[in-house]
């Protein structure tokens, strides 16, 4: 537990440094104030305070501290993850994943492989997205809201022609976050009390499927193609072939569902989801390379709820699978898959670094993505039954669009104030900081802890 928290706080500190988009950058631009405040809020509070405090001490002190903790806990010296971190710290030019380098490497490789890439200097991001040739986009941001917004923006603006020529491959890496499928219930699919306690946000995406966890050791890919060419398995097979070629043996395989798995022990290393709309479609997925799997497990842990907590809802279920890391460095994976993508087309494939996150449209999409009404409020109606065994209290909450509509309990007297609020027509979000204070006695705390721990 100590180890997880400490390591993830280190990851968070990195991520703060790599967010290219800070409140300071846009100072004086009122238009973006709310959004920026949100991002600041999201990544500040405790984490940033820690970050600024430790800025001068440099990260090496933290690492020494972690090593000491690990020694104490496991009797090991400088485990690999920490060694890597240390090396990176000592050689700042190699850290973090330097998108410029990736860009450079891939461009070089491609230039070696094929014709030179046309240099289109004055094109805006939108011009590039609207151009009718295959392209690769690599995000320079690690902010999950901005990256999901960028992906949507690219998808929306990709031109549809017959035949379709604007295939897109997008890569982005996010700071720790949990991403649920479009038709899922975040209360049921994620461990909200844990996520809130460590400051990991929950996002809802536009594609279907189940819940995934992102962090800096995970690379997200997104393959946009025509609706006619939509396939749940095609791009996975491209990745499997490319990675296997790189390793020189069958490291990866696809299972019958099209998921990418380790060939040897069948553990899943990539979660996929899809979107199909008029004329176009995408297949996007996670790729676990060097992710914090303990955090992943904890984020999705439904807290041994049997007998205590029960959901009645019709939203889409996640299918839990044993997972593993591929172990390839992020930039190697991006390079390997980019080359494979590039080889699928006869025309040269430009690689575009995306750093235009001040784009009004992207910010608008990001704003919607962070809206509580979308993330939580668009959940289909559900009932949550809680059983506090010690006091023999049973309670059943009825939630519609994220709003507490009604409840039933065998201890009505403890809940009379809450009943009063609902009778008065008060709109209470199903967040413990919104309503558990209306519950009498000690029970409020237990209920708050079960729901999300925000009270």
């Amino acid at each position: 537990m100590l180890r997880i928290n400490t390591l993830s706080s280190v990851i968070r500190r990195y991520s703060i440094r790599s967010i290219p988009f800070t409140k300071e950058d846009l100072k004086g631009d009122d238009k973006y104030k709310d959004l920026n405040d949100h991002y600041s809020d999201l990544f500040t509070s405790e984490e940033t305070q820690v970050s600024s405090k430790s800025k001068e001490n440099s990260l090496s002190d933290d690492i020494a501290e972690i090593n000491a903790e690990l020694n104490e806990l496991y009797g090991v010296e400088s485990p690999i993850e920490v060694q890597n971190v240390e090396q990176r710290e000592q050689k700042p030019q190699e850290f973090p994943i330097k998108e410029q380098d990736i860009h450079h490497d891939i461009q070089q490789d491609i230039q070696q492989d094929t014709q030179p890439i046309p240099t289109l200097k004055k094109e805006s991001l939108l011009d590039k997205i609207k151009s009718n040739t295959p392209k690769i986009f690599i995000s320079k941001s690690n902010n999950p809201f901005l990256n999901l917004a960028m992906e949507d923006y690219i998808f929306q603006n990709t031109p549809v022609t017959n035949p379709f020529k604007a295939q897109r491959l997008i890569f982005y890496t996010n700071t720790p976050c949990v991403v649920i499928g479009k038709s899922q219930n975040p209360w049921r699919e994620t461990n909200l009390p844990y996520l809130n306690s460590v400051g990991i946000p929950v996002l809802r995406r536009n594609s279907g499927g189940g819940t995934v966890v992102h962090d800096l050791g995970n690379v997200n890919y997104s393959f946009i193609n025509s609706k006619e060419s939509f396939s749940r398995t095609f791009f996975g097979s491209v990745i499997v072939k490319a990675v296997n070629k790189r390793y020189g043996f069958e490291k990866l395989a696809q299972n019958e569902r099209g998921d990418i798995i380790m060939a040897l022990d069948k553990k899943k290393i990539s979660g996929s989801a899809f979107k199909v709309t008029r004329g176009k479609s995408y297949h996007h997925g996670t790729m676990l390379l060097n992710s914090d799997l303990a955090n992943l497990k904890q984020a999705l842990n439904k807290r041994q709820r049997t007998g205590i907590m029960e959901f009645e809802c019709r939203s889409v279920d996640s299918v839990p699978s044993p997972v593993d890391n591929l172990g390839l460095p992020n930039h190697d994976f991006i390079e390997v898959v980019s080359k494979a993508f590039q080889k699928m087309y006869e025309t040269p494939v430009e690689i575009v670094e995306v750093d235009e996150f001040h784009n009004e449209e992207i910010l608008k999409i990001a704003e919607n993505l962070k809206d509580w009404k979308w993330r939580f409020g668009s959940t289909g109606s559900f009932k949550l039954k809680l059983n506090h065994q010690e006091s023999g209290t049973l309670i059943e909450f009825h939630v519609e669009k994220g709003i507490l509509k009604d409840f039933k309990t065998n201890k009505e007297s403890d809940f009379e104030f809450l009943r009063e609020q609902l009778t008065r027509g008060l709109e209470l979000k199903f967040k413990s900081d919104e309503f558990v204070r209306f519950i009498k006695g000690d029970l409020y705390e237990w209920i708050g802890n079960q729901i999300d721990g925000t009270h």
Partner: protein, 174 residues
């Protein structure tokens, strides 16, 4: 709204990637449109006659004499998308414009947009789908209808394909 390519095998799609014009044949023993369920509300709602129309997005519109119409997806589309797990419905009272995204159907990790085939106002949604989303697969032209709308412009209906035209377009693609 959905294409037959959803059913392609992965090796077929790899080939397809390099040659977008390649089409795989698609064999149907029964009607491509599916069976119009006469027992269901989309038929029994009025005494008729019903004007049944289709779109290129593989949706149908079953219009009744009172200028209301039931909208759903065809058997062809529901077979193509696979097992439906969730249907996102619009709300009663929503004004919809032809071509708008009015909801989505989730099947096997894919979210598939539903488009408004005509303009109008949503007057009913198929609440049964909340509890039984697979009705879209088992009875698309029947109990698996999605919304009922008040038709705004009857001319829009006439511009949609009739049964023969739709069936013909599917055969041509096949």
């Amino acid at each position: 709204m959905f294409s037959r390519s959803l059913l392609r095998s992965s090796s077929a799609t790899s080939r397809l990637m390099l040659n977008n014009t390649l089409k795989l044949s698609f064999r149907y023993q029964s009607s491509l449109i599916g069976k119009f369920n006469k027992e269901s509300l989309i038929n029994t709602y009025s005494k008729g006659p019903i004007d049944l129309r289709f779109t290129e997005d593989h949706e149908y519109v079953a219009a009744h004499p009172d200028q209301t119409a039931f909208i759903g997806i065809t058997k062809y589309a529901s077979d193509a998308i696979g097992d439906v797990t969730f249907v996102e419905l619009p709300e009663i009272g929503d004004k919809i414009d032809q071509g708008d995204v009015i909801g989505s159907i989730e099947s096997v990790k894919s979210s598939n947009d539903i488009f408004a085939p005509i303009s109008g106002e949503v007057i009913a949604i198929n609440e049964q789908l909340n509890d039984n989303a697979p009705l879209v697969n088992s009875d698309p032209l029947g109990d698996g209808w999605i919304v009922q709308v008040k038709v705004e412009d009857a001319e829009q209906l006439k511009e949609l394909q009739n049964e023969q035209e739709y069936e013909e377009s599917l055969k041509q693609d096949a």
